[in-house]
């Protein structure tokens, strides 16, 4: 039997066993029932939790899982595919892809009993286009009729429907003062906000007039913020204070696999770390050879193996914002090349190695201290000394971003931020020169990159965009404006009496509509 045939046979066998396992699991799952409450601990350091004045607003909710109380026009599902939510149709009005027409679902009510209209959608996007980075391209909205709205963009965007699925871009009741929109915490989501203790806790109850009839199943939902408190959350879980823990530390996985009456639910991917390489005057990272040497020296596969526990729980990045689970992702051919790293360093005038400035990180995810310690050790083999320093989560963003007024000399830092997976259009746009995540990258390669991006945005066919995206990723590998070595697969744990709680690569996009409890 040829290798190919054997592989096919093995593949078919594995697929059959997988399908059998899934159908058995399905058969074992009790049928959905209404009632009960679910309390979960959230572990991510999102740093956006608000205060008493705004923490019901979707931008400042304690865990960013806004879909408990709100809906967007579209939703990205667990496979990162677009699904319609409050929209029933999203289509370009013409071939320029600059105007998009959206038909909204009829009969949708807000938590205060009002019917949702196209006017509410337009008002909500007046806020979003000023505040959300992905919506900034919306020049204006036009209400065509009570159920149709047009979005006028500053340039064509073939992936605009994904912008409408961004978690910030929820639909809220209109308010003449757009600054007040969302402050009351009124949405169209499956649950109504009943109380909130800013940055600590939020409680919800079922919204009986939810547009998805028969949903949600749960009577009550409660989120408790346990960011950076793994041990406390684990103790709470074991004491049955929590029914689930979202985004657990990967090193707990082995332990949790043995935890009684507990299921581990992994997402197909999750956040990855962007190592931001500042290119201000005097920075070593102005030299692309040093950036690339650092990128080539990192043992990415080791990082996934040691920090995440293997490829089931983590993945190797390619220095772009795309996640490995994205169909457009191009895996790096040689994730680590020490000879190349040493050669580039020598060419850059550092034949005996280089000491880089201090890399500052904060434990936004529980594994980050281990992540950067591993990187520090792995690049040492290429002659790169990489000092690292942990900073507290509080104030980290302001610290690493520096001051906008660069004349003060407080430039942004050699630091990191966590980013979640999105569609290629949004993900690859994040490496634009004017963004901190690219370290304010500039030059001919950056220009070429942005020209390709503009072309992709005007290319309606997804298949045709693939080649452009591949070329953009090749530029990022070659230039390394920032380094994205590896990412996590989000993992949650839950009691086995909780059903249909599906994990999501975008930890903010988990849905609670379908979750139910058995007795």
């Amino acid at each position: 039997m040829s290798d190919l045939a054997r592989r096919h046979l093995l593949g078919a066998g594995a697929a059959f066993l997988g399908a059998l396992d899934a159908s058995l699991a399905q058969a074992q799952q009790p049928s959905p029932r209404r009632g009960g409450a679910l309390v979960y601990a959230q572990m991510s350091g999102n740093r956006r939790g608000g205060d008493a004045s705004n923490s019901r607003h979707p931008y400042y909710m304690v865990d960013l899982i806004t879909r408990s109380a709100y809906n967007t026009l579209a939703w990205v599902d667990e496979e990162l595919k677009l699904q319609l939510e409050l929209a029933t149709r999203i289509a370009p009005a013409d071939d320029t892809l600059k105007v998009w027409e959206v038909t909204i679902r009829e009969g949708v009510r807000f938590h205060d009993g009002r019917m949702m209209t196209a006017g509410d959608v337009a008002a909500s996007f007046e806020l979003h286009r000023r505040r959300n980075f992905a919506s900034a391209q919306i020049q204006r909205t036009e209400v065509v009729n009570p159920t149709t709205i047009r979005f006028h963009l500053d340039a064509g965007n073939s992936e605009f429907p994904f912008v409408l699925a961004e978690y910030d871009c929820v639909v809220m009741p209109a308010n003449p003062d757009f600054e007040r929109i969302g402050m009351e915490g009124i949405g169209t989501g499956p649950f109504r906000i009943t109380s909130n203790d800013p940055q600590r806790r939020m409680t919800f109850e079922r919204f009986e007039d939810y547009w998805r009839q028969g949903f949600p199943y749960l009577d009550r939902l409660e989120v408790v913020n346990r960011e950076g408190q793994t041990e406390a959350a684990l103790a709470g879980y074991r004491a049955r204070q929590f029914d689930a823990m979202l985004n657990i530390d990967p090193r707990l996985i082995r332990q949790m696999e043995r935890e009684p009456q507990t299921d581990l639910v992994a997402a197909a991917s999750g956040d990855q770390a962007v190592i931001i390489l500042p290119k201000h005057p005097g920075s070593a990272f102005n030299d692309a050879r040093i950036r690339r040497a650092l990128s080539a020296a990192i043992d990415r596969e080791g990082l996934v193996r040691i920090v995440y526990g293997g490829t089931r729980w983590g993945w190797v990045g390619n220095d772009s914002h795309l996640a490995a689970a994205d169909p457009m992702f191009v895996a790096p051919e040689r994730p680590r090349d020490l000879a190349l790293a040493r050669r580039l360093l020598a060419e850059a005038g550092h034949p005996n190695g280089i000491t880089l400035p201090t890399l500052y990180y904060a434990p936004q995810w529980p594994e980050m201290a281990r992540y950067f310690q591993f990187i520090q050790e792995s690049v040492r083999e290429a002659g790169i000394t990489l000092p690292i320093e942990e900073r507290p989560n509080d104030g980290y963003q302001r610290f690493r971003m520096g001051e906008l007024d660069v004349s003060r000399g407080n430039w942004h830092k050699f630091a990191y931020t966590a980013v979640g997976p999105r569609n290629p259009g949004i993900s690859l746009f994040r490496m634009r020169p004017a963004n901190n995540e690219s370290g304010y990258w500039s030059g001919p390669a950056a220009d070429r990159y942005m020209a390709l991006y503009a072309r992709a945005m005007l290319t309606a066919e997804a298949a045709a965009r693939r080649a452009i995206y591949a070329e953009m990723q090749a530029i990022l590998r070659e230039e390394a404006p920032a380094i994205l070595p590896a990412g996590r697969n989000n993992v949650l744990i839950k009691r086995n009496t909780v059903h249909n709680l599906r994990n999501h690569p975008q930890h903010w996009s988990i849905r609670w509509d379908d979750v139910y409890r058995s007795a």
Partner: protein, 275 residues
């Protein structure tokens, strides 16, 4: 010192401190592996190669344990020195000047004591980073407040002594009187204060590292090791218990030694001291 060592508890304390100091100094030569080297699979069980197993990055836990007291002891002793020197000078100056200066110093001390220790360090670290010098200054300031009160109290008593009066009548400056007449006469007290403050500083540094506000990874540190191992306490207890035991024995040793020293000097500071 000899009188102190005749007390069994003090002798035990002194021995514990000496053993820890020797191990910390000799760590580069006696540790089987470099403390930050990634050697093997994470969480290997204890065995012949890795006596305490490997940690969650595959580093030798025993080597890290041997290295783990170096930075904490450095910070503790340096902070103890900052606290004793700064606190003694401030306290004695307040005792010498009295009046408005004394009031200002003591109100500042009370204000500082009213701020929770962890909050104070968190603000300090957020503003200045988590480097060793920053930790020494932050912990030194925290420990200093107790020394100010103790040395001020001792200084007030000394100010009534004839030789201080004589120095004043001779026209000696305040600084000379503080340095020549008061400071040497509180040296015993300060020696005990140093031992106590260093011990307290060590515990504080370990606690800060445990909370993520102290020594920054990958520096091997007992407090950090306890923090790292906490989530794995059930499956890998040695990763927590070994560094915790080191912290306890060192702090216990320092306290016993301080108490023995205080007894030998006829002071009761080791049983009281503010702050």
């Amino acid at each position: 010192m000899r009188a102190a060592l005749r007390r069994p508890a003090a002798l035990l304390g002194g021995l514990l401190v000496v053993v820890h100091l020797v191990v910390a100094i000799a760590a580069p030569w006696i540790a089987p592996f470099a403390p930050t080297s990634l050697l093997d699979a994470p969480l290997e069980p204890p065995g012949a190669t890795y006596w305490l197993g490997t940690d969650d990055l595959g580093r030798d836990a025993f080597s890290r344990l041997l290295w783990g007291g170096r930075v904490a002891m450095l910070v503790a002793f340096a902070a103890g020195a900052v606290a004793v020197l700064g606190g003694a000078l401030l306290g004695l100056a307040a005792a010498y000047r009295r009046g408005g200066f004394d009031d200002v110093v003591m109100r500042l001390v009370e204000m500082k004591l009213a701020v929770p220790t962890i909050l104070f360090v968190a603000i300090f670290v957020t503003g200045f980073g988590q480097s060793v010098p920053v930790l020494i200054v932050a912990v030194g300031i925290i420990q200093m407040m107790g020394v100010v009160r103790t040395s001020r109290a001792a200084g007030i008593v000394l100010m009534e002594q004839g030789y201080v009066r004589a120095a004043q009548l001779n026209g000696e400056s305040g600084l000379i009187i503080i340095l020549r007449e008061l400071l040497p006469n509180v040296a015993d007290l300060l020696a005990v204060e140093f031992a106590l403050r260093a011990s307290s500083a060590l515990l504080l540094v370990s606690a800060l590292s445990f909370l993520g506000l102290g020594i920054s990874p990958p520096t091997p540190d007992w407090g950090l090791m306890v923090e790292d191992g906490m989530a794995l306490l059930e499956s890998e207890p040695a990763l927590v218990l070994a560094p915790a035991l080191c912290i306890s024995t060192l702090v216990l040793g320092m306290n016993l030694a301080a108490e023995g020293l205080a007894d030998a000097l006829g002071l009761d500071a080791a049983r009281g001291g503010g702050g």
